[in-house]
Amino acid sequence: MPAAEVAARVRQSLESVKVSDLENVQLIEVLRMAQQLTDTMQMFFGSLDKSIHQEFNSIAEYIAKTRDEIAHLRPNDIRESRLPGAGAELEALIADTERATETIMSEAETLMISETDDLDAYKMEVSDAMTKIIEACSFQDLTGQRVSKVVSSLKHIEERVARFAQTMGVNDAEATANEKAEEERKAKLHLNGPAIGGPETDQTNVDDLLAMDQDAIDALFD
């Protein structure tokens, strides 16, 4: 029952009490009106309770579903295992490549300044250095395996996040001010990083661009 209707009924009951001569009113009559008032109020609160109850029920269901979906997301696994694991692999990968680079570079640098007067000794030195360089190249196998582990972790996370976003119908919030500022800085300073699959513009095309006069360059953007 709408609130306005309830208020009208209550007002009506009070009016009828007022207009009657209270001194002559029988107790039974007062009780009858009180009963009527109570019934009206009960109907109102009853309807109110029911809709609130339904509302709370659906909120509770949504919360349970959200909790369930978050559990499927396994955020603790991502935070405590997947991401730190991937980070550790990438750090190890950097260390592997640094070590290999150091070995290869040092061997090459040593050869560049070695004495060549004694050919037999020089040949031996070159042969030793080449063996060390070849051994150092085993980093490629190790880094390949490490990258595979990282890619597999990222795929797990991607699948779970995608499922969560889809089931919950999540829309992305706007990027934070910091993220936007970083994007703007990158665009302004042309920080694109290395392209996937080799340089986007190869050296020959770079040379052509540098050789062009300003009018021809401007025409590219028309």
Partner: protein
């Protein structure tokens, strides 16, 4: 005018390995007077203290990028004439154009080889 083989060259890159590679290649082609810096800020400070015959700089560095360094170098009276070669993995057309507009003398895309470095240096500072 012949190129002075003892002229100081400044190599700017945040990756020590890349600095080492460039220094080795420079040594191979006869330039041994090489200083290094790991970003634009450090490079510009060095350029204010010492006159370099050539700057070879990466683009993507923090906090100051090679692009900002180039703009700063060209805007400063004492450094504006220094030859500047960009050596970078940034290979979008917009990067090449932006560098050209900012006054770069040449642009080398990573990965590169000794031949390319020598050819571009020759184009910028003359035969050696």
């Amino acid at each position: 005018m012949a190129v002075e083989m003892t002229m100081p060259i400044l190599v700017v890159d945040d990756y020590k390995t890349m600095v080492r590679i460039i220094k080795n290649l420079l040594k191979q082609i006869g330039f041994e007077n090489v200083d290094e810096a790991s970003d634009g800020t450090e490079a510009f400070e060095k350029m204010k203290k010492k006159k370099y015959g050539l700057v070879i700089s990466d683009w993507n560095m923090e906090p100051m990028t090679g692009y900002e360094l180039l703009q700063k170098v060209r805007a400063d009276e004492s450094t504006k004439a220094t030859p500047f070669i960009m050596v970078t993995a940034e290979s979008k057309t917009e990067n090449v154009i932006a560098a050209k507009k900012a006054g770069v003398n040449n642009y080398i895309v990573k990965p590169f080889n000794a031949g390319t470095l020598k050819a571009k240096m020759t184009a910028v500072i003359g035969d050696f």
